[in-house]
């Protein structure tokens, strides 16, 4: 199994970890083949609506912003597709404002944009969302702190231990080196895994820019020798 790509619990640069990150080492349990953590919820394609994956068509009008397609595959650690798994996304609008009532950033809400989507991967492990490019937004972690533009992703995989919530970033974003959340990941190659690729093949002429973002989940513990 590859080394863990994940950030350490305690990452002092991200202030909210100080009182929330566990201090004790996690406890091994994977020797039990009956452990229910080695199984995962199953999702049917009928559980998500046809329009759930198009964040630009959830209201009467079109949202303001740069229309984009975000697509990729969910893979296991051996590169095999993870089919029929639920992928959920949420994001700020093009002005960097979330519809969430806790977001007090003085940027406009967009009446035509909620910013939440869902889809279930196909037989190749592929998902596809149509949305608008989210804006950067300020937060109060430190003085003059700004989050790079990002889309939040939630993926299930084949085991509850593969469950992953992460964030996708955009290539060339000048805020990435200053972001303690992205920079909490120690390994540069692992950080790069979270940066999508602009892709002309996904881009649709006269309509939307395309970004590719694959998600590689850990092997299920039972599969490791």
């Amino acid at each position: 199994m590859p080394p863990s790509p994940h950030p350490p619990n305690q990452s002092p640069g991200y202030r909210s970890t100080l009182l929330r990150a566990p201090a004790q080492a996690p406890v091994p349990f994977k020797t039990d083949p009956d452990a229910i953590e080695l199984t995962s919820p199953v999702f049917g394609h009928e559980e998500v609506g046809a329009l759930d994956a198009d964040l630009t068509r959830q209201h009467h009008g079109e949202p303001i912003g740069e229309r984009i397609i975000v697509t990729g595959r969910v893979l296991d650690g051996d590169g095999r597709p993870v089919r029929d798994t639920l992928v959920e996304v949420w994001q700020a609008n093009s002005a960097g404002r979330y519809i969430h009532q806790g977001d007090q950033h003085p940027a406009p809400l967009d009446p035509n944009f909620t910013g939440a989507g869902r889809c279930v991967t196909d037989a190749e492990g592929r998902y596809r969302f149509v949305t608008i490019k989210p804006g950067a937004y300020p937060w109060r972690n430190h003085s003059n702190a700004w989050r790079p533009a990002h889309i939040h992703f939630s993926v299930f995989g084949r085991a509850f231990t593969e469950r992953l919530v992460t964030q996708m970033y955009f290539p060339g974003d000048p805020l990435m080196p200053f972001d303690p959340i992205l920079q909490s990941i120690p390994d540069a190659a692992a950080r790069q895994r979270l940066v999508s690729d602009f892709c002309l093949e996904i881009t649709e002429p006269e309509w939307a820019l395309g970004y590719a973002f694959d998600i590689v989940l850990g092997d299920t513990p039972m599969e490791t020798p």
Partner: protein, 163 residues
Amino acid sequence: MTLTPSQTVGPFYGYALPYEHDWELVAEGHPEAITLSGRVLDGAGEPVPDALLELWLGFTGDRGALLRGDGLVSGFGRCGTAPDGSYRFRTVRPSGPYLSLQIFARGLLRSVLTRVYLEDRPDPLLDSLDPARRRTLIATGSGDSYHFDVRLQGTGETVFLDF
């Protein structure tokens, strides 16, 4: 192949991840229903008002994990914490000795995974822990009502699993 690293769920998942009846794995009045409730607390003992909990019973149930319906049992549920850090699930008993609980929150760069045992019993995981830590995995209560607090850090810190 580099695996995809985790990032925090952040504070603003609340309009996206919750879904209708997400905390109700069975409908009200189900003959085998039990409730599991508790609070999520931080290292200062303060409630965590913006955590998301996911409960997994180890079986998918009658339909897909998101669907709900009269008399149906789902094996998966979600609950966001209230301003006082509390959560609740209406579920059935798991087929084995414990329920699997995963917790996401702002300030957790990766989710934490734990187990809720409805009663203390001989068990490979429990038996590997010292008594004080063992207690953090045992729900209190009986019959159809159980209580389980999650302490993310500090005194009485809940045992979290390596995954």
